[in-house]
Structure formats: structure tokens, C-alpha cells
Symmetry: D5
Subunit: 92 residues, 10 copies
């Protein structure tokens, strides 16, 4: 099942650079692993913002929440999830 | 270049059914043609709403506006466009 | 899978009473059938509003959209869907 | 009487982990006790968010406020309460 | 139990004056009857708007919804209900 | 003249408990004095929130602002004031 | 006492021009009479909008509501009222 | 002086096509005349919407309001005006 | 030219009282000087809020921005500016 | 391709003045370089706010995001991007 997910990142300005770099590195590895597994299907940057729009393909709400709440940046993000259904005019 | 587009349809309740059916049929043909051309890459229904999220891949803002304003449902839709950039963690 | 759904009804004031009564009667029958099937698990009136909060339990996004877009009142409703996951403190 | 309650948690980033763990442990015990008493009837995680939707069944507004303001996480939550009435199409 | 209720009236401009007058007259009689019964405790005009803030004192959510949905102006109003609890600093 | 006032309290999480207790104690005394004087006519807790709805009866805008800005919690509150007029259907 | 009032006018597009002209002429006469009486102290057009910001100086909430609800355009306006107090840095 | 202006057009669906075409033709001529006069400096389409962002350069608020309220589409537009000042980092 | 300006002040709670007092004293002197010069024509307190509505009469957008950005409280305020034009029904 | 960009700056109040001055100096140099290159075509101050509206002319979404995310003030700004298309009534 597909979900559109928007994530807005908001790191505290007083977080030490080393800590921020570590979180971002782990976030990147985690995001790429989920992409390789086919669960995080698409990942785009919102132009001009520290934010992304993503499309996830997972088996259940519970699986999606487990994936999202496991993101290293999760405590610093505002996330909104929209469930997507098949569109009758889609050719896919 | 990629754009995320959300379209919300709002047909007047007093539109004759034949007219609505005609518009919807032309909309579907138009949407499928653009998908076959690779410009309307993805098309999803927002669950529970007469709305869609789509991803377009076109050469310019002008091309996207020409495509969207040519939609048979255009006069009856609220459309919002978000430009998307490559995300540094995307594997694609 | 569970979804919280809010529906706000807005019937046109110039709809003939007989037509409105017919739609409402079909809506009620449809809603009760889905409740008996266990898909529309809960249905509550929002106090003071022509609106409801409901909980659906269905197998997929596509099934939910099919159910909701089949509501006789669908053309006259604003619907918002929130996917629900298991809460770690829930005893159920 | 039934109430739909949405709670959004926002813990300060500089709260020591031990303190956060203690608050969460007490919150969980408290939530489960109220569920066993039948007052906190349902508790769901909003997918992708540190938030929940809940349904409470209590005797009065005062009782609900006492329960909610007693939550260990209360000082760190934004809470919104919606009173629910019986829906004429509900089969329950 | 107490509820704060805000009602915003929006009569269609093409409603015949006689019909509007009739609805308003019935609304007034209904409102005054509920005030005499002690259920509609307070009723104030929002300055400059065709709207009111009211305080109701009723036994249950169901009773309040029955009262509000019985208002002759109900089909033409946007209503929002806020449940009120006893305040620890109140002297009443 | 009557005013509906909503106050939302937001104490900083790092305020020492003794300081918070002192402010709350002074707030309570101040609120009760104004109630005894008949100026703060009603005071209700918004269920589930650290907020209140109140009705003030004072002689002028200036008097109301003086009373509100003198609240010990004033620096920590978001306040919104709505002027209320007599409603033609009110029996009082 | 002073009030800041914003009025947004929204005339139905199908109102006959003669009716609209008549309403506007009566509105203008009414507005100018209240200005001559010193009650409608200031009247400004919001640039680019069919709207105004005004300052009224009246004796009570009730008087203001009577004046505003008597405006010929009242049924076609959205009005918002903000009570104004003396500012400690004002030299007037 | 410069102003950023956003205009959103909303033509009634029941306006006869000939009338709409006439209004649009007059709007275009008017817009081009103001551009030739240097007052309507820039005019851009918002991608996907029947809306524009424009920059006007006029001598006063009154002149801008006269120009905007004279637009043939003015009765069918929602307009928002933002005054612009020189930016200290601008090289112009 | 006239502008309606709303300013909302939000001083950090950890600012030392002496610093806050100094800023407020300089703000008051600055505000009164601009009033004596006729540029800050009116200054009102929004009842119940640490905010004001003001009317400025200056020669240009640049002059207004220079005045506002020079306010000692400027770094701690949210400011919104609305340009005002002459109203055809104004008698002034 | 053209984009309208709004940037709202929000520097932390506890940032040392020397650090803020350094960031602003680098921001100014960066902004002026991009203007000289013709990519940051226009840059205006929003009157009364620490914000700007800008028009960028770049080859792609990716280029715009690279430019914006390279701004020294980027971590302290809220940015919103609107893609602009050619308007049929524009004479340019």
C-alpha cells in the first residue's frame, strides 16, 4: 500500500555540529537501506526547504509507523502522512 | 524536472450528468495520454476525497502550466504545485 | 487496518426534500450494512454539527476509498482520513 | 458519555533521557490503568506522529478534565477534545 | 454539564423574506423556551456579526445535540461546541 | 459591558516549581478577588487544556485591559477578547 | 470607546445592478451620517480589496452592534471587531 | 513605489461564454496598457492556478487601488497587496 | 500615505528585567517622538494582548520600513502592514 | 525559469552579535554575487518584516535548491517557493 509522506526537519540551533552530523549520517544510511528494500520508494527534496516528500510502499499502517518512528531525525521532524489509493485514470 | 501536484475537484451540483460524464471521459483520455507520453508520471487518488496527488516530469514551468490548464476539469479544480529537487539521500 | 474518518455533510439548500430524504435513507441503509459487515466499526455524531467521526477497519486503502466514494452522500461531503496504528500503551 | 481526544506530545529536546523515560513509564501505567477501568476506551497512534487519537467514556466533563490533567505527559501535550453523541445510523 | 457554543448564521440571499421571517420567529420562540427551561443558560450576540456565543447546561452530549439540531436555523448555521469544566479558581 | 475572554497558559518548562507555584497562587487570589467584585463574572476550564473561557463585566475597554494585563500569568498567556452585545432572543 | 472594525463586502454576482446601486447609495449616506455624528471616526479602503478598516467611537457594545447591523450592506459583509484600549505610549 | 500583488480569479460557472470572453479581452487590453505605461511592471502566471503574481510601480496607495478596482475582472478576483521596500543587499 | 500596522510583542522570558525595562523605555521615547513628528498618527493597545494597532502617515514604503526596523522592540515583534487608500464614502 | 521566493529570517535572540554580523555579511556578499550573475533577479524587503520577496531565474529546481540551501542564513529562514510561468497578457 502507498502513502505520501511529508517530513519537515527542524534541528535545534544549539545542537553540536558533531551530533548533527552523526544523526544525518545515520538518517542517510537508514533512508538508503529502506529504499534498497523497496519500502521507501521515492524521496524528493522540497525546493528551498529542509523538507522532503516521499512515497512509501509497505504492508500496513503499523509497519509504516515503525519505519518512520525509527528515523534518527524522527524527534526533530514534523511528519504528515496521506494514504493513497489507485486512481481510475492511472495506467499503472 | 519533477513537480508534485495536488488537484481537488469540485463539480457544481447542478451540472447535468451528461455534461459531467463528458468532462470526466475527456479528462481520463487526456490524463492517460500524458501518462503514456511520460509527462504525468504518477497519479494517485487521495483516500476518501475527490482529489489526487500526481507527479509530473516536464521541461519547464510553462509546459506544466500548459498541460494543467488544458485539463477538461481545470475550471472545476483547485490545484497546488510544489517543485521537487533531487534529495541527497535518494538512491535514484 | 484502522482509519479515523471525519465526514462533514453539506446538502445544497435548494435540493428538494424528497431527494434529500431519499439520499439520507440510502445512506443510512448503506452505513448500517457496512457496520454489520464489521468494516464501519464505529460511527459517532459530532455534537452540534452535521458531521461524524467514524472508525473503519478494512484491508487496504483501495477498499476504504471504494467504500467511502460509494456513500450516497459522498458528493455532498468533505471527508478527511487519518490512518491509525497500534499504540504501545494500548491494552487491546 | 464519549469524547474523541487528540493528544500531540512535544518533549523538550534538552530533557534528560532518564527523566523522559520515567515520565513515559508513568504515562504508560496510568494509561493502562484507565483502560482497565473502562474510561479510556480506545487508544491509537497517529501514523508517523508522536500523537494519539483516543476515545474516553466518562461521566462528566469534570471527570475527563481530571483524568487528562493528571497525565504525566500533560505539561508536554497539546490536547483537543470533541464531544461525541449517538449517531442515528449507528447500530450500536 | 456546561458547554460553550458558538453559532454563525448564514441565510441564503435568495430565501424569500417571508420564509426567513418565519424561521427567525420560530428560532426565537424555541430559544426562549430553552432559556426558560434553564438549558440555554446564556445567549449573547457577537458584536458586528450574525453570530452568538451561548452557554448550555444539559445532562448529556446527546441532549445537547438534540437541542441544537432542532433549532429552526440549524440547516443555515455553522456550530462549534466546547465542553467546559469547573475551574479551580472559580468561586461558584 | 460583557466580554468573552479566552486565555491559554504556556509556562516555560524550565521555570522553577517554586516560582510557578507562587505565580499560580497569586493568580488564584487575583482571580477570586475580581470575581468577588463582580468584574470576572464567570470562569470555566476548557476540558483537556490549560486554558479558560471567562466572561468579564466591566465599564470600559481600558478597565478590561488593566485587569487582564495585571494577571500574574499575563506574560505567559495568549489572550483573545470578544465583545458581546445583548441578543434579541435573550430573556435576560 | 474605540473599536477597530474590518468589513469585507461580497455582493452576489447575480444581484441586479439597480439593486446593488441602491444598496451602495444607502450605505454611503448611512456611513456619512455616522461620520458626521462622530461615531464612525475613520474609514479607509484596504488597497486592492472591496473591504475597509474603520474606527468607531461609541458608548457601548450594544450601540456598535446596532450601528453595524443597520448597515445596508450588512447582509453581504463579513465583519470583525477588535476592541482598542489606550496605549501607554500614546501622546493623545 | 513597488507593490507585490497576487490576484486569484474565480469566474462563476454559469457566466455565459461570450460574457466571459468579453471580460477577459478587456482585462488583457487594460493589463497591457498599464504595462506599456510602466505601472504594471511585471505579470506572471502562478503555475497550475488561475492566478497571477504582479509587481506594480505607482505613485501612491490611492493610484494602485484605482488601477486594481478598475480591472474588468475585479468583481471576480481575490486580491492581496504587499508593499515592498528597497532591500539593503539589492544591487539595483 | 497611510498604513495600518499591527505589532505583536514577544519578549524572551529569560531577558533580564533591567534589559527589558531599558528597551521599553527607549521604545516609548521613540514612539512618542514619531507621534510628535506626525508620522505615527495613532497608537492603540489591543485589549488583552501585548500588541498594538497603529496608523502611520509617511511618504514612502522605504520610510515606513526604516521607522519600523528602527524600533527598539523590532527584534522581538511580529509586524504586519496593510496599505490604506482613501474610501469613497469617507468625509475627510 | 522564474521562481517567486519568500524568505522569513528568524535569528535566535541568544546568538552573539559578532556571529550574527558575520552571517549577515556573508549573506549580503552571497546575495550580491548571485544578483551579478543574473540568477537572483530581484530582491525586495517586505515592509515592516525581517523578510524578503525575491525572483530567481535559474535553469532547474536543483539549481535553485542548491543556491537557496547555500545561503548563510538558510538554517535560520523559513522559505517558500512558487514557480512562475509566462502570463498570456504579459508584454515581455
Amino acid at each position: 500500500m502507498l502513502y505520501l509522506v511529508r517530513m519537515d526537519v527542524n534541528l535545534p540551533h544549539d545542537m553540536p555540529a558533531a551530533q548533527a552530523d552523526d544523526i544525518k549520517a545515520r538518517e542517510k544510511a537508514y533512508a538508503q537501506q529502506l529504499q534498497h528494500e523497496g519500502k521507501w520508494q521515492q524521496l524528493y527534496r522540497v525546493v528551498g526547504e529542509y523538507a522532503n516528500y516521499s512515497i512509501f510502499d509497505v504492508a500496513s499502517h503499523d509497519e509504516l509507523h515503525t519505519l518512520l518512528s525509527g528515523l534518527p531525525l524522527f524527534p526533530y521532524m514534523k511528519i504528515h502522512v496521506t494514504p493513497l489509493a489507485k486512481h481510475p485514470s492511472s495506467i499503472r
